[in-house]
């Protein structure tokens, strides 16, 4: 684990600029109606921004693999909760009142 790894100032600044730029992009894209794709695009851009914050601001890039596993397992189990609950909701055959 790099004890004293200082990230150069330039990197922080460029990451901030990219993040702001992506925010503008995601707002602009949201105006155009791609139907169901809107959600996917918005989530993709958000994930890119999230990855940038994680890697550079939170120094995940310079930590060893253990911290990737910790963060990854957190996200994995949220997705697992969503995935199996969604399976239940989608495949529910609802009875109808025949009175």
């Amino acid at each position: 684990m790099s004890e004293h790894h200082t990230v150069p100032f330039k990197t922080y600044l460029s990451v901030l600029i990219i993040l702001l730029f992506l925010t503008v992009i995601t707002v602009a894209v949201a105006q155009i109606d791609f139907g169901a794709w809107n959600t996917f695009i918005a989530m993709f851009i958000a994930s890119v921004k999230g990855a940038l914050v994680l890697l550079y601001f939170m120094h995940l890039k310079y930590e060893d693999r253990l911290y990737w596993v910790i963060f990854g397992s957190g996200v994995f189990f949220v997705v697992l909760l969503f995935f199996l609950t969604k399976i239940d909701i989608i495949t529910r055959v609802l009875e109808v009142n025949t009175l």
């Binding site: 609802l94 009875e95 109808v96 009142n97 025949t98 009175l99």
Partner: protein, 321 residues
């Protein structure tokens, strides 16, 4: 310990089939699966118990300083075998369970549909021709019957032990159960999802009768030739006795004797003399006016009471002095 295991399992196997003889084909198939599972459990329990009982006796410590002498600390083949065999057995149980569940979830096309309404502490059954009954309902034998169920307040669960079937009754959506009884008789129905004070006495009784008897019962109007007050008394028995008494004694709800014309204060500050409109409103939509000192726990009876029964109830309450 082994004798305890044998005694209870022998007793168990004998009583469960004697106490709850299967009444539908599904129940018979389930019993075979169930006895297979219990058999596997007993065999595996005995195997492991005999193993560690034998080891315990055979390898008792002889001297204070004695150490264990097993040379081998793991054996990959043995470990593979005793993880693969349980996996196979569990897979067999899973598939067998799936086959039955597949059948349990698919009611035949032509099944007779009965609507079931669960509410805080009684069941109401509504047939196609509008006939409504509470806690007692009749079903023809040798015909597939499909129950379409919903709840009017909280979660309940419709469980017929002799038929080995159960399904939660969820407010907001309809769930269903189906069965085809092969034998006539009276069968107990339980509510198995916790629903408050009256959960333990939210019992219904199912009468499986021949087709002809069932059709007569369907056409028979239980209230024919009875005066309004007598109809009310009959309707009162099935639904209201869990919370209300016909005397002054307070249970969950107030005692109803001398109610007509009495003065009542409500939680919203207003108060009025009890009359027919107040009685009608408090039965159909009780949370409108809650008498001071009582919880707002009564579930509306709108939809499960016929007009005849409603006016009969009001007449009956008026007779209670």
């Amino acid at each position: 310990m082994i004798p305890l295991l044998f005694f209870s399992l022998k007793g168990y196997a004998q009583t469960s089939t004697e106490k709850l003889p299967p009444v539908t084909d599904y129940a018979e198939k389930l019993d075979t699966l169930y006895h297979f599972l219990v058999g596997i459990s007993v065999v595996s329990c005995i195997l492991v118990i005999v193993a560690f009982a034998y080891f315990s006796i055979r390898y008792r410590r002889k001297s204070e300083k004695e150490q264990g002498s097993a040379k081998v600390s793991h054996n990959t083949l043995l470990e593979f075998i005793w993880s693969f065999i349980p996996l196979v057995i569990f897979a067999v149980a899973f598939v067998w369970g799936w086959i039955l569940y597949y059948d349990f979830k698919r009611p035949p096309e032509n099944s007779l549909e009965i609507h079931v309404y669960g509410q805080m502490w009684n069941w109401t059954f509504v047939y196609k021709n509008g006939k409504k009954t509470t806690n007692e309902f009749y079903v023809p034998s040798h015909k597939p019957v499909k129950l379409i169920m919903t709840s009017k307040d909280v979660l309940h669960s419709f469980f017929i032990p002799t038929f080995r079937i159960k399904q939660d009754v969820v407010p907001g959506i309809y769930t269903s159960l189906w069965f085809k009884a092969n034998r006539k008789g009276k069968f107990q129905v339980f509510c198995t999802e916790f629903c408050g004070t009256g959960h333990a006495n939210m019992l219904a009784r199912m009468h499986v009768v021949s087709l002809k008897e069932w059709e007569d019962w369907l056409a028979h109007d239980p209230y024919k030739g009875l005066s309004l007050a007598e109809i009310g008394k009959k309707a009162f028995q099935g639904r209201c006795t869990v919370c209300h008494t016909t005397t002054k004694e307070k249970r969950i709800g107030p005692g109803l004797s001398g109610l007509m014309g009495a003065k009542r204060e409500f939680t919203n500050g207003k108060s009025l003399m009890v009359d027919e409109n107040y009685l009608r409103e408090s039965i159909l939509n009780p949370s409108e006016k809650i008498v001071v000192g009582f919880p707002n726990q009564m579930t509306p009876f709108a939809g499960t009471l016929s007009e005849e029964e409603l006016s009969g109830l009001i007449e009956y309450i008026k007779t209670l002095k």
